[in-house]
């Protein structure tokens, strides 16, 4: 009986939600330990599309990818930016550790050209990562084509789209929704993640990426972990503990010329928070 079950589970067509057999060809460490832990394979999916849905600029939509891009830019292949909405500012990119000599900027005039350039860049195999702003009305067929191109060229495609696209079906390997809350931490929601459970929410401090997850501060009152979930989850399941609030930012008095604001406040403790998800 057991043997028969084992045999059945060996079938390549059967994929078990719980196991972390890698559904992705490879991965690129994101540079955020909490995020790496949440993604199967431990990083961004290589040779596939990643979609980041967001509505605002300036909420960390680029900083989220910077540690990975910085590393990729020094590995020999190129990083293409296709149809960026504003100027990707070179001094800031250099400050994030990106090697500017590996950056290729493409400014197509029409959306069709942007999609074409995106596919060419993904398929060519010379770009380690392709970041693109293809517009919200990209269809699922076009995305499918791009996904295949990324597989063929072993490229990591990152598409930035509006959060209205969350409703649309998409063949991308990973879809994330980036939001800001009242705190300074970026909140990432996994809408779709090939090979892992979705509806997780992760909070990241984008200013201070950490490559290793830090232990939870012992003084934090840690409520007993809920035991109702059977445990092949790798992460500790906790409701979000109350974070020590940083000092409220002093508002600069206007008119100008007053003292600069104290930088940063105390180091933020990072949390990986799993919302309870439905499991059977």
């Amino acid at each position: 009986m057991n043997d028969a079950l084992e045999q059945l589970l060996q079938e390549p067509a059967i994929w078990r939600a719980g196991d972390n057999g890698l559904p992705w060809a490879g991965h690129i460490a994101s540079g955020f330990a909490e995020l790496d832990a949440a993604l199967p394979g431990g990083g961004w999916p290589d040779s596939a599309l990643t979609e980041l849905l967001h509505d605002q600029h300036g909420i960390g939509e680029l900083r989220l990818f910077m540690p990975a891009l910085a590393r990729l830019s020094r590995a020999g292949r190129w990083i293409a930016l296709i149809a960026p909405p504003h100027i990707p500012y070179a001094p800031a990119l250099a400050a994030q550790g990106v090697d500017l000599s590996r950056i290729l900027l493409v400014h197509p005039r029409r959306q069709q050209d942007a999609l074409w350039a995106l596919e060419q860049a993904l398929r060519s195999g010379t770009c380690a990562a392709v970041l693109a702003w293809p517009g919200s009305n990209t269809t699922a067929q076009q995305l499918r084509r791009l996904q295949l191109a990324a597989e063929a060229g072993q490229s990591w495609g990152v598409l930035f789209r509006g959060s209205a696209c969350a409703e649309q079906a998409s063949p991308s390997a990973l879809r994330l929704h980036l939001q800001t809350g009242d705190s300074e931490l970026a909140r990432l929601k996994l809408i779709k993640c090939r090979g892992a459970l979705t509806r997780q929410s992760i909070q990241l401090d984008l200013e201070n990426p950490r490559t290793r997850a830090l232990p939870i501060r012992p003084s934090t009152p840690a409520p007993a972990a809920p035991t109702g979930l059977t445990g092949h989850s790798r992460w500790q399941q906790r409701p979000q503990p109350a974070r020590p609030q940083p000092d409220p930012q002093p508002q600069l008095p206007l008119p100008l010329g007053s003292a600069p604001a104290p930088g940063g406040g105390d180091p933020q403790w990072l949390r990986l928070v799993h919302h309870r998800h439905e499991r059977c």
């Binding site: 605002q56 600029h57 300036g58 909420i59 960390g60 939509e61 680029l62 900083r63 910077m66 020999g76 292949r77 190129w78 909405p85 504003h86 100027i87 990707p88 500012y89 070179a90 001094p91 800031a92 990119l93 250099a94 400050a95 994030q96 090697d99 500017l100 000599s101 950056i103 290729l104 900027l105 493409v106 400014h107 197509p108 005039r109 050209d113 074409w116 350039a117 060419q120 860049a121 060519s124 195999g125 010379t126 770009c127 939001q179 800001t180 809350g181 009242d182 300074e184 930012q249 508002q251 600069l252 206007l254 100008l256 010329g257 600069p260 604001a261 930088g263």
Partner: protein, 475 residues
């Protein structure tokens, strides 16, 4: 010495009609008579020497082209240019034969058989049907090729035996002499060789005997060496006007292959081509496809031309194409791959990608990124041609997104607003510079957090009217 003769029996016709991929019946006309026919027309029963009306009755859709001796000579010279990729010694035998000395090339190309396969394939791709002959003397090779005997003769001692069965009509003699030979009962070269040459010379003149001696290697045969052209100008006419980019590209690849042969021979490459598409009763369309680096790869050029053509709207069907390369740049020959095949691949593919993007989207839409030693934020960055190593000055206090144009902010009760009031959280950073070139600025920059959580880079102009502006996002 080993000479290869490439005899192109339909050369005058094919030089005119090879722009078409699958031609219909087609024939060349001189003085009201048909001189050359293609295979399709020959299958319909049309032969050289036929009158026009008779030919038309055999094949109603027959295409007739007027013969043009000057352009034929030019086409043969271009083919000789192309053949320089196989050997440096190429000699013309007008009107329709090329002689190539292959003795020095056998080792490089890996033997006669490999070389012959390459040559045959390459000629097919150019659209020329051919017969070949190989022999130690040029005249013998030429006679064998005209006879259609492809079996190579490697040894001089085997020449008399191999040449003996060839008919005398192959010799380039006028009709009177041919008739005289036939009257003497001499049908083959073997018959001619058997007779004493002195007496024959008295009857027929020196020419046939001299030719025979040259063929057998008993008399020196000095051939002028073909001098390659220093620029390329290929021209192809479409017998029927081309409506699709596919048929234009087909003709273009034939010209590009010809060009590539010349460039291989000269160890050169080109960076810029001029392509002219002629239309009926319209001004021609002129395109100038270019590459990032000189190249002689047909594949790369074809890819760039395809992207360029697809972007171009043509006003009318194309009746002829002209391809010009005026500046041939020196380019080192490619290393034959031993181990470095994979290492070389990536830069090539990279070039391919950028060239393809440039050809389709236009050259200015593709660029690299760098910084400049400049305090004004608008000028602290620059675009560069990709592949140039830029300056990289990091500044951690700058936003990842910079707006192309600073956006004025609404001020309510003395507070700048952008989707609600802004909270300034870092700053000011005063930038006051640029008085020397008239674009001077005097600003105080702040990091500001918007009500929706976005982190912005804003400034206040220090000059009246002291407005607030949004200049970037900390993306």
């Amino acid at each position: 010495m080993l000479w290869l003769a490439l005899h192109l029996p339909r050369f005058p016709l094919e030089a005119r009609s090879r722009a078409q991929q699958a031609p219909g019946p087609c024939a060349l006309v001189e003085a009201g008579r048909i001189t050359h026919v293609n295979t399709v027309a020959a299958e319909a029963g049309i032969q050289a020497g036929l009158g026009l009306s008779a030919a038309r009755s055999l094949a109603p859709d027959l295409q007739l082209l007027e013969r043009h001796p000057a352009s034929e000579a030019q086409a043969l010279r271009q083919l000789a240019d192309w053949a320089l990729q196989f050997t440096s010694q190429v000699s013309l035998q007008p009107p329709d034969t090329l002689l190539l000395e292959l003795g020095g090339s056998l080792r490089l190309f890996g033997g006669l058989d490999t070389l012959m396969t390459m040559l045959t394939q390459a000629l097919d791709q150019l659209g020329y049907s051919h017969q070949q002959g190989t022999a130690p003397t040029p005249v013998a090779a030429w006679l064998l090729a005209r006879h259609g005997d492809p079996e190579p003769v490697r040894d001089r001692s085997a020449l008399p035996q191999r040449l003996a069965p060839l008919p005398c009509i192959l010799l380039p003699l006028d009709t009177a002499r041919q008739r005289a030979l036939a009257g003497l009962g001499i049908r083959t070269l073997g018959d001619l060789m058997a007779l004493p040459s002195k007496d024959l010379g008295r009857r027929l003149g020196r020419t046939p005997m001299q030719l025979l001696e040259q063929a057998l290697g008993q008399r020196p045969d000095l051939r002028p060496q073909h001098q390659p052209a220093r620029h390329y100008h290929g021209h192809l006419e479409f017998p029927a006007a081309a409506h699709s980019s596919k048929s234009i590209l087909f003709a273009l690849q034939r010209l590009l292959r010809e060009l590539a042969g010349l460039l291989h021979g000269l160890e050169a490459g080109v960076q810029q081509l001029e392509l002219e598409l002629a239309h009926h009763r319209r001004n021609p369309t002129r395109l100038r496809p270019g590459l990032m680096r000189p190249s002689r790869s047909t594949k790369r050029w074809l890819m760039v031309c395809r992207e360029r053509l697809e972007r171009q709207a043509l006003p009318a069907p194309v009746i002829a194409i002209d391809l010009r390369a005026d500046t041939l740049l020196p380019l080192a020959p490619e290393a034959l791959a031993l181990l470095d095949a994979e290492v070389q691949e990536t830069p090539d593919r990279w070039l391919e990608l950028t060239e393809r993007l440039k050809a389709r989207l236009g050259g200015r839409t593709i660029c690299g990124l760098g910084t400049r030693a400049e305090h004004r934020p608008e000028q602290a960055w620059q675009t560069l041609p990709p592949e140039q190593s830029p300056q990289q000055r990091a500044n951690p206090h700058r936003p990842l997104w910079l707006l192309k144009q600073a956006e004025p902010l609404v001020v309510r009760q003395g507070q700048p607003c952008w989707n609600g009031p802004l909270v300034l959280c870092q700053g000011p950073e005063r930038i006051e510079t640029g008085w020397w070139d008239g674009h001077d600025i005097s600003r105080d920059y702040y990091q500001a957090r918007a009500a929706n959580g976005a982190l912005l880079w804003v400034y206040r102009d220090r000059r009246p009217p002291r407005g607030w502006y949004l200049h970037g996002f900390f993306g």
